[in-house]
Structure formats: structure tokens, C-alpha cells
């Protein structure tokens, strides 16, 4: 991110969110904090992170708050997990499972991942709920999972609800979801999104035990990632579109849950001015950046033009050129040359980015096609722009 202030805020957002969670726990004078796995990212190995975590957990200890953790798949593969000497208010359940009394009549149950994969259900490792007490169970699971992804401690909501626990505190999936309310089966999501792949505000869940159990969402994210879209259809002038952008960004800023947001703004719809917009992309990016910045809470990450126009191609030379360019792009030789160049130049990227860009076999073809199509549009826009 080229904006220094934003860059700073995003870089420290995960820590700020955890700090905010600890602040909330202290302010609400909670009895315990439940962390259902993936406390560490798989790649995180810095002692600074361990030191920060220790510091925050010690703050909780100073306020008499107990912390319960289970290890998730990322914890299992992370070297920090074994090396951090946790303060004595922290209890980490092991892979054999167990239960700990939080308070009179309240028991916390948990089972950790023994290693980074758990293809089988971990439910058999749970001990039976303590009769006459409130039983809260912690489990790191992908539940039924998603197609194409490895299953992590697979189980179903029905299996969970039938085990007799009063509250299932789940972890693993980054998006918050309440699967059941009697008993509660809550996937609280993560505290802070890390990139555009994890959009929206993020939160923790405050559980209150009374005659009944309530679960309330507590916002934690400092920065949220948002994908916005403004429709250019029917905007007869640049001013109209600018107004729409401004309005959308202002409204988003005023409705924002987190303190600030990183925005990817797409311009969609149909517009006869799409060529001019593509040509003047830099000007539009400047404008959108300024509008976002003017809200004081939003930063523009990227401006994407995803426009089509109503006009059929005419007999003009530029239209003819566009048609020829389209034909050229469709030719195997051109595509092969593009693929070769991509493969060659992608050596400049770190392996992780290469893998992200080309996740499967067909990805190279798709990338080559997308780049060729968008590149042709950009050059055509400039040619058209130079003529007008």
C-alpha cells in the first residue's frame, strides 16, 4: 500500500484488534477468554509476537481473567506454539482432551489438534458434560468443510447439538456464523481481516451465563476490507459518476463498523464513456483516492473498471483494429507466447505469490487470456483517446 498512514495501520491491525479484545475483556470483567485455535498464523515465528502475546495475556492475568486455548491446524504447524512460556492464567488443552472448571458450576471442555491435519472427527475425545453444570466446549473444526479444501476435524452441527454441551465455541473459519442457538454453536470468525479475501467487519463473541445463555457480537477489527461497486450506467457525464462515487464512499464511511476501511472500488455497468475512463484511469484513481481520503476513514486500495458499452463495433478503423486484436488474441501462437512470457517473468516473484497467482493447471491460460484482453483494452483506449 502506497499510503504510509494506511500501511502503518494495516500492518499493526491484527495486534491492535487483539489488544482491543483484551481491553474489552477487562472492561467487561469477564471470567475467561476462550481461544478456539489458530492463535498463531502458520508462518508466524517471531519472538516479538510471542512477547506481545505474553504481555497481553499477563494483562488478563493481572485482572484475574483465565484464558483457555485449544490448538488449531495453524498452531500445530507453528514453531511458536511450543516455545512460548504462557503465563499461569492460561490453560492449553492437549490433543487427548479434557475439562477445566472455570467457576462454580461452569466447566470448559476442549481438544487440541495434535498435528496440522485432523481428517477424523475429534468429538469422541470429549468427555461427557458435567451434570448440573454449564458446559462449554471448544473445538477447532471446518464442520462439513468446503469442496476442494482438506477437512479439519470434520463433524456436523447435528452431531454437536446432540452431545449435551450448552455452548460450542468453534474456531477455524474466518467468517462469523451462528449455526445454532439451542444449544449455541458459534463460529465467531476472526478478530481482524488481513486482506481483500477477508472482507467486512470482524469480531469476537461475548457469552453471558445467566438463567439462559446469551451470545453478543463484539466488534474488534481496526481496519476492514471492503469491496464496493458503483454503477456507471446512465451517468451521462464524468461529474455524475464522480458524484455517485463520492456518495457511495461517504455513505460507506458513515455506516462503517471498524475505525477505517480499505476499499476496492469497482466501476460496473454500461457506459459509452468506458474508453475514456480506461484511458484516464490515472485521473480516476486520483479522484477516487481523494474522495476516499476525504472521508477520513477510507483508503482506496484499487480502482477496477469493469465496464461494457452498448455500442456495437462500427466500421471505424479503431473498431476494425479491435476486431483484429481480438482475433490475434484468440490464436494459439499468441497465447503460447504470452504464457511463455508470463512463466518467464513470474520467476521474479516469490514462490508464495507464484502459487497464489497460478493455483491450478488452467490458471496460466486464464491469466494469459485476462492480461491479453485487459492489455488490449488499455492500448485501444489510449488509441481511441488520442483520436478524441
Amino acid at each position: 500500500m502506497r499510503d504510509a498512514a494506511l500501511s502503518e495501520r494495516v500492518r499493526t491491525a491484527s495486534r491492535a484488534a487483539f489488544g482491543r479484545l483484551v481491553d474489552t475483556a477487562i472492561a467487561e470483567a469477564v471470567a475467561g477468554l476462550l481461544i478456539s485455535g489458530d492463535l498463531f498464523d502458520g508462518a508466524e515465528r517471531s519472538a516479538q509476537t510471542a512477547a506481545f502475546l505474553t504481555l497481553q495475556l499477563e494483562r488478563l492475568r493481572d485482572h484475574g481473567i483465565k484464558v483457555f486455548c485449544i490448538k488449531g491446524n495453524h498452531d500445530a504447524e507453528n514453531p511458536l506454539t511450543g516455545d512460548v512460556a504462557m503465563p499461569d492464567n492460561v490453560h492449553v488443552f492437549d490433543g487427548r482432551g479434557g475439562k477445566v472448571q472455570l467457576a462454580d458450576g461452569v466447566w470448559i471442555h476442549g481438544v487440541s489438534f495434535a498435528n496440522r491435519h485432523a481428517p477424523e472427527s475429534l468429538l469422541p475425545k470429549f468427555q461427557a458434560p458435567v451434570a448440573g453444570a454449564v458446559n462449554i466446549a471448544m473445538l477447532h473444526t471446518s464442520l462439513a468443510g468446503a469442496e476442494g479444501h482438506d477437512p479439519y476435524a470434520p463433524c456436523t452441527v447435528e452431531q454437536l447439538t446432540s452431545m449435551g454441551f450448552d455452548y460450542w465455541a468453534l474456531g477455524h473459519v474466518h467468517r462469523r456464523q451462528i449455526h445454532a442457538e439451542v444449544p449455541w454453536v458459534v463460529m465467531p470468525g476472526m478478530l481482524q481481516g488481513r486482506d481483500m479475501g477477508e472482507p467486512g467487519p470482524k469480531s469476537a463473541t461475548l457469552i453471558t451465563l445467566g438463567e439462559t445463555i446469551s451470545a453478543v457480537e463484539v466488534p474488534t477489527s481496526v481496519v476492514e476490507f471492503l469491496r464496493l461497486s458503483v454503477d456507471a450506467t446512465g451517468s451521462d457525464s464524468d461529474d455524475t459518476l464522480r458524484d455517485r462515487m463520492r456518495h457511495l464512499l461517504r455513505k460507506t464511511a458513515s455506516d462503517l463498523t471498524s475505525e477505517s476501511a480499505v476499499v476496492r472500488l469497482s466501476v460496473t455497468g454500461r457506459s459509452p464513456r468506458r474508453w475514456q475512463m480506461a484511458r484516464d484511469r490515472d485521473v480516476w484513481v486520483e479522484a477516487a483516492t481523494a474522495y476516499a481520503r476525504a472521508t477520513g476513514r477510507l483508503w482506496l486500495e484499487k480502482l477496477v473498471f469493469d465496464l461494457s458499452d452498448d455500442e456495437a463495433r462500427g466500421p471505424s478503423a479503431t473498431d476494425e483494429l479491435a476486431t483484429i486484436m481480438q482475433a490475434v488474441r484468440g490464436e494459439p501462437g499468441f497465447a503460447a507466447a504470452c504464457r511463455a512470457e508470463i512463466e518467464d517473468i513470474l520467476k521474479e516473484l516469490p514462490p508464495a505469490r507464484r502459487a497464489a497467482l497460478l493455483p491450478d493447471e488452467g490458471a496460466l491460460d486464464r491469466l494469459a487470456d485476462r492480461l491479453a484482453t485487459e492489455g488490449a483494452e488499455r492500448v485501444l483506449a489510449r488509441v481511441k483517446g488520442a483520436g478524441s
Binding site: 517471531s46 519472538a47 516479538q48 512477547a51 516469490p350 505469490r353 492480461l371 483517446g385 488520442a386
Partner: protein, 1142 residues
């Protein structure tokens, strides 16, 4: 499409401005719009574009009319059809048709070949800037044919700049092994961040080890410090004894030295320096007193020798009083001859002026001096004479001219009166019938009737069936509802019949299949069949009866055989039981199917009969009105068409009735006009048109005669008025002349002539100026002579009083001045000597007092010493003080050494100290100290190493804070990786876009080369007046470059052409591109806005011919403010362009 008429109703500075380009059909559709700068040429072009594409949101041409009032209209020729459009400024529904109806945008857009406004501007509107860019682009393309053709055809003036810029942009993003690209910079930043992470990051296990290491090194440091401190203490003790030994020795020596001076005071408050100063001061005072007395005696002697003369002292003041007079006298001695010369010249000038004025020779010029007021009066009189004479002469000339114009006007009036036609009364007639309103009404009525009649005729035509048609509307044989019902019934029955037939066919097929299957099963079952079984059983029962009654072996065998047969059949039947069941079901199904088929056949018959009846009825009805046989549906359609025809017939009747009064009025007018218009059986339009023409001509003639009469009468009145005025002018001139002559005579009494003076009135002013100069010179001469005389008198008297010889007054003055100065100097010297004496006396008194004071102080200071010590004089006192100070200093040194020894040894008394140092020697202590120093060095090194180790461990541990530095670096690394990815993808996009564009331009060239090259060649030859006759291409690597071959056959590359020729080539390419568009079916007006600005005359000629050429394939409109372009175009074009002036 072409523009036939453009009306800028409210646009720019125009209101209702119409440009009529006329209908198509000229050999070349070339138009020149000519007007001076700011006349609105570009506005006209923009107005045309607004008509096609609508008004801009922020309209720059809304400066005179508000945007909401803007309007442009025009007539377009679209494929031979004339269509009127009006463009309004509203946001929607802003395109209107001829009758004000809203038209969809496609009404125009459909004929623009898909060109957007920007496309239109770039392809079909040329201006200087485009040509300039195009010429440069041709140079930049270095002759690449593909780019040249595409640039021209796409109207992209700087395609190369665009492609180069894009290529450059890609180059700034990424280039292999380059170090200044964006990717390279990001990678550098990434490497730095990764290095920073490596340096600052530390793992959690290492952190734990760090904590342990710190604890260990802290313990080591404490131990090392303890050991070192012990050694230091020992070293300090040895060092103290080594310092104390010499101190004790010195202490004892000093104490012995001062033992004899115990009665000297413990302290003394006398500063020896002060004593020295006092001694010095007393000596200086005595010496100065002696010098003062000597100088006093010399001064008294000098004062007594001086003489002061008061009379000569007063002389100075009297000479000062005469100084101004002396100064003036000196100046006058220089100026007097010049003033006298000036006086003589002024007199000579006056005499010359008098001669110029033709005064008599003996006339004194001074008598001609005239006052300023008189000169002004003379000037006024002379001007008056001149003005009145000029007015009189002008008046006379104008009267003569007016008389000539009057004669011409009377002649023209008579000529007009003779050719006036007789009155026809046509105007009144047209007015009475209100022809202006009647004509459109008649036209509308005629059009309305024609269209209604046509509608009726079309409806009747639609009634025709085969060869049977109807000229008039026949009676309908049946009402539409009945016909529709019958048709529906027939249709329904036919459908039922078809359905029934389908189902019957299906059933018959099923029956056939079942029959075949029954037969096959029966054959398969064979003996097991029901019939065979029954037959076998019947045979068995009969043979049983036979056997029972006979009971023979034969009957028994036959019965047994029959039994066996029945058993075999039964066994077979059991084996084929399933087949039998099927056979039975098939048999039953077959019977049912046949029954159903029969029922269907009967139903089909009933339907056929009913259908036949309906058909028969329809045919009968059709035959009734002479139509060939029709089905009920066809008849129903016909009846519906008949109803429409009946409606059209009624509409025609209503229309005729509605327009009957208009038509009658038109008929009446036609009858009234017929005898007057002189046409043979004219129709209404022809008669009306002729009548209007005649009436207009009649009105115009009458108007011209009336105008001529008014002009004659006006001129006649003007002549009379001017003649009367002329008499007054003459009188005024005479009166002025008389006044002038009288005034001259009065002033100069005949010495000067009036005519000479009228020409030389300015001489009188010159005369006044010369006289003034003469008078001033005379005054100055008199004043100077008076000053000389007064100075000589005064200085002579003074010289005599002080004994100076008489002579040149200035010399006398100088000598008197010297005498006065001498007296003044003597007086000043006397005053100075008296002052010096007074100062001497005062200073001597001060010195005596100071010597007495010093002697008193010496006495007081000596009192602090014992009586035995001599302190009588300053020198003795100074010696005593010196000794006392030495004793006191040694006493202090003894005390200091005591303190040092006790402090070093940390003891209380000197006796303890002596005991401690008893038997110690310096050599022994030094040896001990050396040993300790070695031990201490080792201990220090050990401590230092432990401290460094502890500090390092503490630093390493302190570096691991809960801070976010590493997390931030890691995040920054991710950001940088993403940025590199973005940049690379950005680069690839541009690369692929460029690559496909380059290939596409090459293919574009291949597709269009031959046609566009031929057209460009022709146009270029025309534009360069044949300087370049052909164009050809030459391979240059992967591309082809363009060469122009000149008149001598020499090929020339683009880079070798002049700037002007490159412009022409660009223009030729654009013309070829236009022709290509036309060949593709897009034919739109082509605009040029003063593009020939930089062309010389020859090139402008060629360019005009080129425009004419474009006009042959489409419509060419050229906007210019150069009159010479218009003239050249008219000369050089085969068919001169239509000129439209703004």
C-alpha cells in the same frame, strides 16, 4: 448522409442563422464557408455536431443564449430521403422530427456508421492542430506503412506517440536487468525488508535461551566485581602509604624551619603588591612636583611678553560687513562685457523683425511693440476672417452638388412612372381569401384525403381473392361474428378429426401388433393351447367312455395314449403357463382394441359429415358474392378484411365532409384567380403561386415609385434650404474682414499692412520677446556699475584709518584682512597661557596632599609587627611583610601535610601515622604495588568481559519486545510482494496489449494497403502538384516503409521530406481514409477548419482540388477566414465550390 440545410436557431452568437447547402447532385459536393475571424465558422461546425449528437452537459456555446434555450435544426439527406430534425437541449427526448414529434436517438445514430462524437471529430473534422500532429507522427512513424494507414484511417494523429508512450511506460515498470524500473526498485525495497527481518527477528526458543543466558552472565559479573573490589582496596592502602612517607618527611622539615618566628602574627592583611604600588606612587608624585615648578616659571615669562591691540581686533568685523559687496564686485568684473553684448543683440533683432513686417525704414521698432491682449485679439479676428470665408466656399460647392442630384432623381422618377404596370387587384383578392392560411389548409386537406383514399383502396385490394377483385365495397354475405364462430367450429372439428385419425391410426397399429404377437404366441404354445387341451380332454373322455364300455386292450391302449396326450398337454401348459396368461390377456386386449377402433371410425364419420356441411355453407356464401370457394377460416378472414374496408370507406366519407369547406373556398379562389394569372387551366397551387408572384411584383414596383418620389421631394427641399443659408454665410465673411482691417489701422496707424500682418502675426510675439531681452540686459548693467563704486569708497576709507596705501580696492582689502588676523591670534595666545598657569597651581596642591597620605598609611601598617621589627619606612615595612607571609605559608603547608597523611592512612593522629609507617620503605611499597597492579588488571579485564557479556545479553533480550517492528516488516514484505506482482501484471498487460496492437496494425496494413495506397497516391500527387507521382513500399525488417517517388523518379523516404510535404502526405492519407469509409458505406460530411493556414498558394490550390475530390465521393465543407482561399478554390476547381458567407 449529407447535410442539406443547417439552422443555428439559438446557438453560440447565432440566432436563426441558416446555411443552405442545397440538394445533392452536383459533380462535387464541395462547400466553402467564409467569414472573418470570430464570425462563427467553428461555431457552425459545432452546431452541426450538436444536431447529430446532442448538446454537451457543460455547453461552451451557451454564452449568448442560455443552455436551456439552445436549439439547432437541419435537413439531412439520408440515402436520398430528406428528413428534418431539431435538437433540443433537454436531457431526454431531445430529438424532434419535422412536426415536433419526439424521435428516438437512432433516427440519426443509425446513419452515422457507428461513429461516436469523438470518432466523428477525429475522422471527419480536420484542423491545424490535427495536421500538425499528423505531420509529426508521420516523421515519428519513420514511414511504417501499417501505422501510417491506420493513423490516417482512425483519425489518430499521434498513434506513434501513443504506442511509444505505452512502450515507455511498460519500460519504466519492468526491464530485465535494469536497475531503475519500478519492479527493480520494489525488489530492492523487498531485499532491504527481508534483510531487516533477518537481522531483527528472533524465534521464541531463542528468546527463552536469551533469558537464561542473561541470568548467567549477571551472576558472573557480580562475582568478577567482588574480586576486583578487594584488590582495589589493597592497592589503595599501599598507594596511601607510598604517598604518606615523603609527606611525613617534608612535614617535619618545615616545622623546624619556622620554629624561630613564633611571635609573627598568625595572619597578615597587608598586600605586598599594594606596598609596591604605594612606593611607586610616592616617588612619581615627588618627581612630578619638580617638573611642574619648572614649567610654571617659563609660562609666566611668555605671558608677560605678549601685547593685545583692541582697535585692530575690531577691524575684522568691519571687513566682514564689506565681504558681500566685495564678492559682487568680483563677479561684475567678469559679467559686465557679456551683458552689454546681449543688449546690443536685442536691439538688432527688433530692427530685423520690424523690417520683416514691412514697416517703414525709419520706423522705431519699439513703437511696434504690441501688448499680449492686443495680439490675442488680432489672432481671433484673423481666424474669424478665415473660418467665415471657408464656410462660404463650402456652402457654394454643396449647393452645386445638390442641384445635380436633384436633376438625376427627377429623371429617375419620371422613368419609373412611365413603366408602372396597371393594377390587377391580386393582393386584395389574396387577402380577402386569406391565401396564406388557406394554402396549407388545402394542402393538408388534399394530403389527408389522398391518404384516406389510399387506405380505402388498400383495404379494397386486400379483399381480392385470386382473380376476383372489387372496385367498390360489396355487401358482406355474413356478419363477422358468425363467420368467426363458423371458422372456429370448423377449425375445432378439423383438429378433432386429425386427433381422432391419429389415435385411430395408433390403435390400428396396436391391433396389428397384438394380432401378430397373438399368432406368434399361439404358434409357440402349440399343443399347449386352450383349444388343443380341450380337444385332447374331449378325446380322452370319449376314449374313456369307449374303453369303459369295451374294456379291451385296444381301447385301453387308445385310452392310455389319449391320457398320455392329455398329460403331455397339461405338462406343456404348466410349462407355458406364463405364455398362456399373456396370450389370454393379448386376446382380450385385441378384442377391446378392435371394439374401440370401430367406435372411433363411427365418430370420424360423424365429424367428416359436420365438416362437410360447414365447408358447403362457406362455399355457398362465397359464391353468393362472386368469390371462389372459400374455407370457413378464409371466409372469416375475408369478412374481417371487409369490415376494415367498410371502416376505411366511412373514414373517407368523414374526411371528405370535414375538408369540404376548405376545398370549396379553394375552388372559389381558383375561379377568381384564373382570369388574372394568365395560365391555361391552372391548378390551385400553380394559380396561387403565380398570383403571389404577380402581386409581389406589383407591390415591389409601386414601392420603388413611391421611394423615388420621396427622394425627389426631399432633395428639392434641401436645395432651397442650402441656398438660403449661403446668403447668411457671405454676409458673415464680409463683416469679419472689415473688423480685422479696422483693428490694424487703429493699432499701427498705417505703419503695417493688414495682409502682411495676417500672414506674419507671430512676428509681433517675437518682437515682444526681443524687447524684453533688451530691457533685462540694460537693468543688469546699471546694477553692476553701482556695486563697484560703493565698494571702492568704503575700502578706501578703512585703508586710510589703518595706514594702508590707497590703490586697487581688492588689494587694500586683502592687506587689511591680514592685519586683523594677526591681532586676533595674539589675543588667543594670551588667553591660553593664563589658563595653563591656573592648571599648574591646582595640580601641585593635589600632589602634596597625596605624599602626606602615603606616609600616614605606612605608620598604621607597621603597628601589627612586634616592636623588634623595623617598619619605619615603606622599604622596611615591605621586607617585614615578605618574611611574615613566608612563615604563614609554611605553617599552612605543615597543616596540609598532616591532613594528607591522616586522610591517606585513614588515621586520627600523627602519632598513629608515625606508628603505621614505622619500618616501611618506598622500595618495599613499590614492589607490593606492582604485584597488586598486575592482579588488578586481570580482575578488571574479567569484570569488563562480564559486563560486556551482560550488556550484550540484556540488549539481545531487550530487543525482543512486544513491539510490532517485525510484524510490520513482515506485513511490509507482503505488501511489497503484492506490489511487485501488481507491477509485473501491469507490465504484462501493456506488453500483451502492445503486441496484439502491433500485429493487428500489420494485418490492417495488409488488408487495406492496396486500396488506400492507390487513393493516397492520387491525392498526394494532386496535393504536391505532381512533385510526387507515385508511392511505393519497401520491406524494412518485419515492417514495410513508405517511399514517395518524385518527378525525376527518385524515391524519397519520409524522413527526407520537408515538414510541409509531410503535412501534405498526412492530408492525402486522410483523404484516402475518407474514400475507404465511403467504400464501406459510411458517407458523412467532412469538415476542414482553416487547415491550409501553413500552405503556400500552390499547395492551397492543390488542397482545394483535393477537397473537390472528397466532395465527389461525399460532402466536403471547408471553413476559412482567408479570402484568397475562396478565390483560389473558385479558380482551380472544375466545378467551383458553393460559397457560404458568414
Amino acid at each position: 448522409m449529407r447535410i442539406e440545410r443547417l439552422c443555428l436557431d439559438f446557438f453560440g452568437q447565432f440566432t436563426g442563422k441558416v446555411l443552405d447547402f442545397g440538394p445533392a447532385g452536383r459533380a462535387s459536393d464541395f462547400h466553402l464557408i467564409y467569414g472573418p475571424n470570430e464570425a462563427g465558422k467553428t461555431t457552425t461546425m459545432e452546431g452541426y455536431l450538436r444536431l447529430l449528437y446532442g448538446f454537451a452537459h457543460r455547453e461552451p456555446y451557451a454564452f449568448q443564449h442560455q443552455r436551456r434555450n439552445l436549439q439547432v435544426s437541419g435537413t439531412l439527406d439520408v440515402g436520398g430521403e430528406r428528413r428534418c430534425f431539431t435538437r433540443m437541449p433537454s436531457q431526454s427526448a431531445n430529438l424532434r422530427g419535422e412536426a415536433g414529434e419526439t424521435l428516438p436517438e437512432t433516427a440519426i445514430a443509425a446513419h452515422l456508421g457507428g461513429l461516436s462524437l469523438d470518432d466523428y471529430r477525429s475522422l471527419l473534422c480536420l484542423d491545424d492542430e490535427t495536421i500538425e500532429k499528423g505531420g509529426e507522427d508521420i516523421a515519428n512513424a519513420r514511414g511504417d506503412v501499417g501505422r501510417l494507414l491506420f493513423s490516417a484511417a482512425a483519425g489518430v494523429a499521434d498513434l506513434n506517440a501513443v504506442l511509444d508512450e505505452t512502450r515507455g511506460e511498460a519500460g519504466t515498470i519492468y526491464k530485465r536487468r535494469a536497475s531503475t524500473t519500478r519492479v527493480a526498485e520494489l525488489k530492492r525495497a523487498l531485499a532491504e525488508v527481508e534483510s531487516a527481518i533477518r537481522e531483527s527477528d528472533i524465534s521464541a526458543s531463542a528468546w527463552r535461551k536469551l533469558k537464561e543466558a542473561l541470568r548467567q552472565v549477571e551472576e558472573d559479573e557480580r562475582e568478577a566485581r567482588r574480586a576486583r573490589d578487594t584488590l582495589r582496596e589493597q592497592q589503595a592502602r599501599i598507594a596511601a602509604m607510598r604517598r604518606a612517607l615523603p609527606n611525613l618527611s617534608e612535614h617535619d622539615g618545615l616545622r623546624d624551619e619556622i620554629a624561630a618566628f613564633d611571635d609573627y602574627p598568625a595572619s597578615i592583611d597587608i598586600n605586598p603588591e599594594a606596598l609596591v604600588a604605594m612606593l611607586s606612587e610616592r616617588g612619581q608624585a615627588a618627581a612630578e612636583l619638580r617638573r611642574l615648578e619648572e614649567r610654571r616659571d617659563a609660562t609666566v615669562k611668555a605671558r608677560d611678553a605678549l601685547v593685545v591691540d583692541d582697535e585692530r581686533l575690531a577691524l575684522g568685523e568691519r571687513l566682514e560687513a564689506l565681504d558681500e559687496l566685495r564678492s559682487r564686485m568680483q563677479t561684475a568684473a567678469l559679467d559686465l562685457p557679456r551683458r552689454e553684448r546681449s543688449h546690443r543683440e536685442a536691439l538688432a533683432d527688433m530692427a530685423r523683425v520690424a523690417a520683416d513686417l514691412d514697416a517703414p525704414e525709419d520706423c522705431d521698432a519699439a513703437t511696434l511693440i504690441t501688448s499680449q491682449a492686443d495680439i490675442a485679439g488680432l489672432e481671433a479676428l484673423r481666424d474669424r476672417v478665415r473660418e467665415t470665408a471657408a464656410a462660404r466656399d463650402n456652402g457654394a460647392r454643396e449647393v452645386a452638388a445638390l442641384k445635380i442630384r436633384l436633376a438625376d432623381a427627377m429623371k429617375a422618377e419620371r422613368a419609373l412612372a412611365e413603366v408602372q404596370p396597371a393594377a390587377t387587384g391580386l393582393s386584395d383578392l389574396l387577402g380577402r381569401f386569406d391565401a396564406d392560411r388557406l394554402a396549407p389548409d388545402v394542402s393538408a386537406a388534399r394530403q389527408s384525403l389522398a391518404s384516406t383514399e389510399e387506405a380505402l383502396q388498400e383495404a379494397l385490394d386486400r379483399l381480392a381473392v385470386g382473380s376476383t377483385g372489387f372496385a367498390t365495397l360489396p355487401e358482406s354475405p355474413v356478419d363477422p361474428i358468425t363467420a368467426l364462430e363458423r371458422a372456429a367450429r370448423h377449425d375445432q372439428l378439423t383438429q378433432n378429426q386429425a386427433l381422432l385419425q391419429d389415435r385411430l391410426s395408433q390403435l390400428e397399429e396396436d391391433i396389428a401388433v397384438m394380432t401378430i404377437r397373438t399368432a406368434a404366441l399361439s404358434a409357440e404354445i402349440g399343443v399347449g393351447g386352450d383349444e388343443q387341451a380341450q380337444a385332447a380332454r374331449a378325446e380322452r373322455d370319449a376314449l374313456w367312455q369307449t374303453h369303459r364300455s369295451a374294456l379291451t386292450a385296444e381301447t385301453a391302449d387308445r385310452f392310455a395314449a389319449a391320457m398320455t396326450s392329455v398329460d403331455q398337454i397339461d405338462a406343456a401348459r404348466i410349462a407355458l403357463a406364463a405364455g398362456l396368461g399373456t396370450l389370454r390377456k393379448l386376446t382380450a386386449d385385441l378384442a377391446e382394441a378392435e371394439a374401440r377402433a370401430e367406435a372411433m371410425r363411427q365418430k370420424r364419420h360423424g365429424l367428416a359429415e359436420e365438416i362437410g356441411a360447414l365447408l358447403g355453407e362457406a362455399e355457398t356464401l362465397a359464391a353468393g358474392i362472386g368469390l371462389p370457394p372459400l374455407s370457413p377460416a378464409a371466409l372469416s378472414d375475408w369478412v374481417a378484411r371487409h369490415a376494415a374496408a367498410a371502416e376505411a370507406s366511412r373514414r373517407l366519407e368523414r374526411c371528405a365532409a370535414q375538408h369540404a369547406p376548405t376545398r370549396q373556398k379553394a375552388e372559389d379562389l381558383l375561379q377568381a384567380l384564373e382570369p388574372l394569372v394568365g395560365l391555361e387551366a391552372p391548378d390551385f397551387d400553380a394559380a396561387l403561386s403565380a398570383a403571389r408572384r404577380l402581386a409581389d411584383a406589383e407591390r415591389a414596383e409601386a414601392e420603388r415609385l413611391r421611394t423615388a418620389s420621396e427622394k425627389t421631394a426631399g432633395l428639392r427641399e434641401e436645395v432651397a434650404r442650402r441656398q438660403s443659408a449661403q446668403t447668411a454665410l457671405q454676409a458673415s465673411a464680409d463683416e469679419a474682414r472689415h473688423a480685422w482691417q479696422s483693428r490694424i489701422d487703429g493699432l499701427y496707424d498705417g505703419k503695417l499692412s493688414a495682409d502682411r500682418l495676417a500672414e506674419a502675426l507671430g512676428h509681433l510675439r517675437a518682437l515682444r520677446e526681443h524687447d524684453a531681452r533688451r530691457l533685462q540686459a540694460a537693468r543688469q548693467i546699471a546694477t553692476m556699475k553701482d556695486d563697484q563704486r560703493r565698494f571702492a569708497d568704503a575700502i578706501g576709507a578703512l585703508g586710510e584709518g589703518f595706514g594702508v596705501e590707497a590703490g586697487d580696492p581688492l588689494e587694500v582689502y586683502r592687506r587689511l584682512k591680514e592685519s586683523a588676523a594677526e591681532a586676533h591670534d595674539a589675543k588667543a595666545r594670551h588667553r591660553q597661557l593664563v589658563t595653563s598657569l591656573e592648571e599648574y597651581y591646582t595640580r601641585a596642591q593635589q600632589l602634596k596632599l597625596r605624599v602626606e597620605e602615603i606616609d600616614r598609611q605606612v605608620g598604621e601598617l607597621g603597628a601589627v609587627f612586634p616592636k623588634t621589627v623595623d617598619t619605619a619606612t615603606l622599604e622596611a615595612l615591605r621586607a617585614a611583610v615578605g618574611r611574615a607571609r613566608d612563615v604563614i605559608a609554611k605553617r599552612a603547608q605543615v597543616a596540609r601535610l598532616e591532613r594528607l597523611i591522616l586522610d591517606d592512612l585513614s588515621l586520627e593522629t600523627m602519632s598513629d601515622a608515625r606508628a603505621a609507617l614505622q619500618g616501611k620503605t618506598a622500595a618495599a611499597l613499590e614492589a607490593k604495588a606492582d604485584t597488586l597492579a598486575t592482579d588488578l588488571g586481570s580482575a578488571d579485564e574479567r569484570l569488563s568481559a562480564a559486563t560486556v557479556a551482560r550488556a550484550n545479553a540484556a540488549r539481545d533480550l531487550a530487543a525482543v519486545t512486544g513491539g510490532a517492528e517485525v510484524a510490520e516488516l513482515v506485513a511490509e514484505r507482503s505488501t511489497l510482494q503484492l506490489q511487485i506482482e501488481e507491477a509485473i501484471l501491469d507490465y504484462l498487460e501493456l506488453q500483451f496489449g502492445l503486441r496484439s496492437a502491433k500485429e493487428a496494425i500489420r494485418r490492417y496494413r495488409d488488408t487495406h494497403r492496396s486500396q488506400m495506397m492507390a487513393a493516397t497516391e492520387q491525392a498526394f500527387a494532386a496535393l504536391t502538384n505532381g512533385a510526387y507521382l507515385t508511392l511505393r513500399t519497401q520491406a524494412d525488417g518485419a515492417s514495410e516503409i513508405l517511399l514517395a517517388v518524385d518527378r525525376r523518379g527518385t524515391p524519397k523516404q519520409i524522413g527526407d521530406m520537408s515538414k510541409g510535404t509531410r503535412f501534405q502526405l498526412y492530408l492525402a492519407l486522410r483523404a484516402a481514409a475518407y474514400e475507404q469509409m465511403v467504400s464501406q458505406g459510411v458517407q458523412l460530411p467532412f469538415f476542414c477548419d482553416d487547415v491550409f493556414e501553413t500552405f503556400d498558394e500552390d499547395r492551397t490550390r492543390a488542397a482545394c482540388r483535393l477537397m473537390e475530390r472528397i466532395g465527389r465521393s461525399g460532402q466536403a465543407i471547408y471553413l476559412t477566414h482567408h479570402r484568397h482561399v475562396v478565390e483560389i478554390a473558385e479558380q482551380v476547381c472544375d466545378e467551383p465550390p458553393l460559397i457560404h458567407a458568414l
